[in-house]
């Protein structure tokens, strides 16, 4: 019998906005997908593209990168750099025919608990449709 596919979504969330937004979703008792596996980082720009690759190649079905809205970065400009790097990672994926839809960048502020819950559910659903990441079982990575 096939077990129902539960995606695993590695989520890098910045301490000041997105992680706090996720906290707010929790304290507001909003229901959101249990697929989200949060990792707190001090700033979204701390996330080297290699972190995203590592998560992807290690079998995460989706990789979420959350930061403050543009202009609101706690360190003023970190998320602008994040955005450029993310654009590069996506382009690399697309140029090699990899599933770039498994990667997502979202701006979620500390007050946007409902938005966090919505994005978590939306992204989980998108990943569910994509199915399991083929890298999960591959022994050659």
């Amino acid at each position: 019998m096939n077990k129902e596919f539960v995606p695993r979504i590695t989520s890098f969330l910045c301490k000041w906005c997105s992680y706090t937004g996720a906290d707010l979703a929790g304290t507001s008792r909003l229901q959101y997908s249990a697929s989200i596996i949060p990792i707190q980082v001090m700033c979204s720009s701390r996330v080297d593209p290699v972190f995203l690759l590592k998560a992807y190649l290690s079998g995460s079905d989706g990789v979420l990168l959350g930061g403050c809205h543009p202009g609101d970065c706690h360190y003023e400009t970190g998320n602008y750099h994040t955005r450029r790097r993310f654009a590069i990672v996506r382009e690399v994926f697309e140029s090699l025919g990899l599933e770039s839809d498994r990667l997502r960048l979202s701006w979620i502020s500390a007050s946007e608990g409902p938005k966090f819950a919505r994005i978590a559910n939306e992204f989980t659903e998108e990943i569910r449709l994509l199915g399991e990441n083929p890298t999960r079982k591959s022994i050659f990575l």
């Binding site: 590069i88 690399v92 025919g97 979202s106 050659f140």
Partner: protein, 364 residues
């Protein structure tokens, strides 16, 4: 802008120039390709005594190392160096200067239109000698020699970008034109003030290379189509990079990969037992050394937008992975996100060092 014509072949005229620069103390040394007398093989050499210039073959279609990479470190010594660079080496030098790995201050850059270089294997085993006459003939007709590196065939940047002194080599000249030096900027004018030749104000006409440009474009499309076909999706990625033995040679010879402490060689990638156990429990087997595919994907995200397509990486790969073809193709795409052309200009900022407030609004 001015020009100096010498009634000699391009190669001889260039050697005269190097001799003049050393003898008149305009520079302390010259960096050029050289034929090793004892073995007949080529290397890149720094020459301070003009008596040793007999061995110099500044236009030899060989690249044993990207000279831009070597020169950038030398440029910080404070010595004045005149360097003969291929267009991609000049671009690599510019990229490194932008990364504060070198300085143009004490350099006199000399570059030439390029018809491509032979793979190192053929340069090393001597088979290049037999192929050279054909190479020269084909290049002089403005066509793409079949014996050069894949990325050379597909190279779109074979006219150097703003060297101090430029030469038009085979294919970019009218027959019997002799050697013409195109000077750009005060540094070249100053250095060549007493150099003997016919002075003029000719400007290089790139339209003489239109035919070559069209042929290269066709080769580029063909190469990129091949990469797209072979290296698409996870299966394609494993097909192409699955052979990797993890030697990291490609990043060692890369002129752009300058990090002394490369992340992939740091302790971040020294795995401990729990790591292996975790992976084995999930996958049932594990490839060693691990992370070879991630290494290439990581380099693509770290530096592909600055790739000058010199082809050193493919040439040193012990298992024949077409690294340069993949990097050129993806690099062209990542660079175009920012309208960036690696090595085009010293003032163009490296894409990951700057940002615009209004861009990529579709991503967030």
């Amino acid at each position: 802008m001015s020009s100096i014509s010498i009634d000699k072949s391009v190669a001889m005229g260039l050697k005269d120039l190097l001799g003049y620069l050393l003898d008149s103390d305009k520079v302390d040394s010259v960096l050029t390709m050289r034929r090793i007398p004892e073995t007949g093989a080529w290397d890149l050499a720094l020459i301070t005594d003009s008596g040793n210039l007999g061995e110099a073959e500044p236009l030899a279609p060989v690249m044993t190392v990207n000279a831009g990479k070597e020169l950038s470190s030398l440029s910080l010594s404070g010595k004045r160096i005149a360097a003969v660079l291929k267009p991609c080496e000049l671009r690599a030098l510019i990229e490194r200067v932008k990364r504060e790995q070198g300085s143009l201050q004490n350099l006199l850059t000399i570059s030439h239109t390029c018809s491509g270089v032979f793979p190192l294997e053929q340069a090393a085993d001597g088979s290049m000698n037999e192929l050279l006459p054909k190479y020269e003939k084909v290049a002089s007709m403005g066509e793409v020699p079949s014996s050069v590196r894949d990325t050379c065939k597909a190279c779109q940047h074979f006219i150097p970008v703003h060297p101090d002194i430029m030469l038009a080599s085979a294919g970019a000249q009218r027959p019997g034109e002799g050697c013409v030096l195109y000077l750009e900027g005060g540094k070249a004018e100053e250095a060549l003030r007493e150099f003997r030749g016919v002075r003029d104000d000719r400007v290089f006409d790139p339209s003489s290379l239109d035919r070559t440009a069209a042929a290269r474009k066709k080769e580029r499309d063909r190469l990129f189509a091949r990469v797209e076909n072979d290296c698409s999706g996870l299966d394609g990625l494993l097909n192409v990079f699955g052979k990797c033995v993890g030697c990291h040679g490609c990043s060692r010879v890369c002129p752009i990969c300058y990090c002394a402490l490369c992340d992939f060689e740091s302790m971040n990638f020294d795995y401990n037992l729990p790591y292996f156990e975790e992976h084995l429990s999930r996958r049932g087997a594990l490839r060693l050394p691990p992370d070879t595919v991630m290494f290439h994907l990581g380099r693509l995200t770290h530096m592909s937008f600055s790739c000058v397509g010199c082809g050193m990486c493919s040439d040193v790969c012990p298992v024949g992975i077409p690294v340069a073809a993949v990097f050129s193709r993806t690099g062209e795409r990542t660079a175009s996100l920012f309208d960036y052309v690696p090595g085009r200009s010293l003032t163009e900022e490296i894409p990951v060092m700057v940002f615009k407030e209004e861009e990529f609004s579709e991503l967030g």
